[in-house]
């Protein structure tokens, strides 16, 4: 069932978007191959604007953008037949039943009624919605609404799926389930997924490629594996007590180390594996609860990349 699209999914050249005097996207050049892509950036970096420009929800001020090899703005209906989108906010049509709503959106994408009905139920099964599908969407909880949004985005079998904060408002279990669904869409079924999120943990779980936007520009575009590679030789050590003592011990060995606000001890030991670190811990007489190598790659990248771009922070 794996079907992968050849060629770049998104291609932009000098994509510019202005709202009045505010420049939301500043001459963006982007080339994205199929995959699971994480779109990161601080508030107001232009993530949502980029998605909306690609979907033609906003007109583009200047430059070109291509989706699946077709020019955005010319072949609207054709492009949108092949993409799915879950907006950030609630977007159901009040008064409709869950399954009715998904069927309706499928028909809007051009599926004939019989196929729409069938696929609507299949997708509701896929996102894990049970008998609730026969209830009115107004009565849904946040979790069900998020599932419904995903179902309506994939019901017409798109090739590219844009997800804007899909785990927002979900409880911990719901977050895991939602991310699992999204991950499977790419890994098992070949749908290119573009995930925009604030939760770096989410992105790390699902995505293989990272695009970091700030002030309307691309700061970083790389694969997650390569980003992790860069941070090899650093680790977070979790101990139940004596944190500062441990950090002291690391520093005595010549490794830069500090105690983080969350109680973890950050250390840069520089070795390819953890053995020197464990050795040091033994000599200190402390048993680690956890050792997380190349920790918070994304968070660090995020903070570092933005130090210049982000204002007073």
């Amino acid at each position: 069932m794996l079907r992968r699209v050849p060629g770049p999914v998104i291609e932009t050249h000098g994509l510019l978007k202005r709202f009045g005097r505010f420049v939301a996207l500043d001459r963006l050049d982007l080339r994205v191959e199929p995959g699971a892509i994480g779109l990161l950036g601080p508030n107001g970096a232009g993530k949502s604007t980029l998605l909306k420009c690609l979907l033609q929800l906003h007109p583009i001020t200047a430059g070109t953008a291509k989706l699946l090899g077709r020019e955005v703005g010319r072949e609207g209906r054709e492009i949108r037949k092949r993409i799915g989108y879950t907006p950030e906010q609630d977007c159901h049509i009040p008064g409709m039943l869950g399954c009715e709503y998904v069927t309706y959106t499928a028909q809007l994408c051009g599926l004939p009624f019989e196929a729409a009905r069938q696929r609507a139920h299949e997708m509701l099964d896929f996102v894990g919605m049970g008998q609730e599908r026969y209830r009115k969407v107004d009565t849904y909880s946040t979790g069900m609404k998020q599932r419904l949004k995903l179902a309506q985005a994939i019901v017409h079998d798109p090739e590219v799926l844009f997800l804007d904060e899909p785990t927002n408002g979900l409880d911990p279990r719901g977050q895991v389930q939602m991310l699992d669904l999204v991950r499977r869409l790419w890994q098992e079924h070949g749908l290119t997924v573009v995930l925009s999120s604030h939760l770096l943990h989410d992105v790390e779980r699902v995505c293989e490629h990272i695009i970091l936007l700030a002030r309307g520009q691309v700061l970083v575009q790389d694969s997650l594996a390569r980003l992790k590679e860069r941070r090899r030789g650093a680790a977070d050590v979790v101990v139940s007590h004596r944190q500062s003592e441990v950090a002291q011990g690391f520093r005595a060995r010549g490794w830069p180390s500090e105690v983080l606000p969350n109680g973890h001890v950050r250390v840069e030991h520089g070795a390819p594996d953890l053995m020197p670190l464990l050795d040091c811990l033994r000599s200190l007489g402390v048993a680690p609860l956890e050792i997380i190598p190349s920790p918070n790659v994304l968070e660090e990248m995020f903070v570092k990349a933005l130090e210049g771009a982000h204002g007073p922070a």
Binding site: P42, P172, H198, L199, H201, A287
Partner: protein, 308 residues
């Protein structure tokens, strides 16, 4: 210190729908986290605490008083709602000014405080002239926090305050909250992002299906949860070998080789003994370790166990 919020046999129904069902517990001072799945009754609880709803039966008191229609008490409570709707036609300074007057500040004082708070929540000055309707999610959260702090409350109730903030914003927000807590303000936070709550709070209340399933600090929670055991995941080059060494040493209750390759799941017999010996055994075995994870201590694991 005694409890801030005392709940006795509290129930809240919306017609036939259940919000909270016959719960009794206390919320202590300091930073307290409120967790639970969607629809667990967190919002109901918060809305009763802040005087927006009344209990159907039972009592809930804050500082010993009932919140509904009680200005004397509401003066001491600050509230930041979950939903991000704000008035559409106002700028942040005017809004905070107006709310400040409603909180009993004098005109000049209200304006000065509004500006000071906007700086405190790090809302960049260039956005002050904008109307609230043009604000992004992150900016909205900051303004909402500012309005909760207007009257310098002793007890702060925050419903999902981190929602929609970027990682930097989250750090800043956490910093502000810790500072407030250090200054003696009691804070109740509800959130879905357990890892963040864990880093922030000392005590937790776990709700599900309108009942309080557990409350206490992470350590007391862990001992309270039935069937909890210390578990470890180790990524290494020879998981079988490591498993054999540890099992032979008699420190394990069980282990499991993960299907995806180099991960080894360990279930510990007695944590105390295990942690005393485990580094020795590991280093002696000659297995090269890449990563050690122990999710069983995290709030998330406790949460999963409790709400399962």
């Amino acid at each position: 210190m005694s409890a801030i919020v005392q709940v006795r046999e509290l129930s809240r129904w919306y017609g036939i729908v259940m919000g909270l069902n016959h719960v009794s517990f206390e919320i202590g001072p300091g930073l307290v986290g409120l967790v639970g799945p969607n629809g667990a009754g967190k919002s109901t609880l918060i809305q009763i605490i802040t005087g927006q709803f009344r209990p159907s039966s039972g009592t809930l008191t804050v500082f010993g008083e009932v919140p509904w229609n009680n200005p004397r008490l509401l003066r001491r409570i600050g509230y930041c709602p979950e939903r991000e709707s704000l008035p559409r036609d106002l700028g942040p300074v005017d809004w905070l000014h107006g709310l400040g007057r409603l909180s009993g500040l004098r005109a000049t004082e209200a304006r000065a405080r509004a500006e000071r708070l906007l700086e405190k929540v790090r809302l960049p000055r260039e956005h002050w002239a904008k109307r609230l309707s043009q604000y992004s999610k992150g900016m909205r959260q900051r303004v909402k926090l500012a309005q909760a702090l207007l009257h310098d409350p002793e007890f702060l109730v925050l419903d999902e305050p981190m929602n929609g903030l970027d990682p930097l914003g989250r750090q800043e927000m956490a910093h502000v909250l810790k500072e407030l807590a250090a200054g003696g303000t009691h804070i109740l936070i509800s959130s879905h992002i357990l890892a963040e709550l864990e880093a922030l709070c000392r005590e937790f209340v776990i709700l599900n299906w309108g009942r309080v399933l557990a409350s206490g600090t992470r350590d007391t929670l862990r001992t309270d949860v039935q069937g909890w055991s210390e578990q470890l995941q180790v990524r290494c080059d020879q998981p079988e070998k490591l498993a054999r060494v540890l099992f032979d040493a008699g420190v394990l209750r069980g282990f499991q080789l993960a299907p995806e390759g180099d991960w080894l799941h360990l279930e510990v017999r007695d944590p105390e003994v295990f942690y005393q010996r485990w580094l020795e055994l590991l280093l002696a075995s000659g297995v090269v370790v890449g990563e050690i994870r122990s999710e069983s201590r995290s709030l998330r694991q406790i949460f999963d166990k409790v709400t399962a």
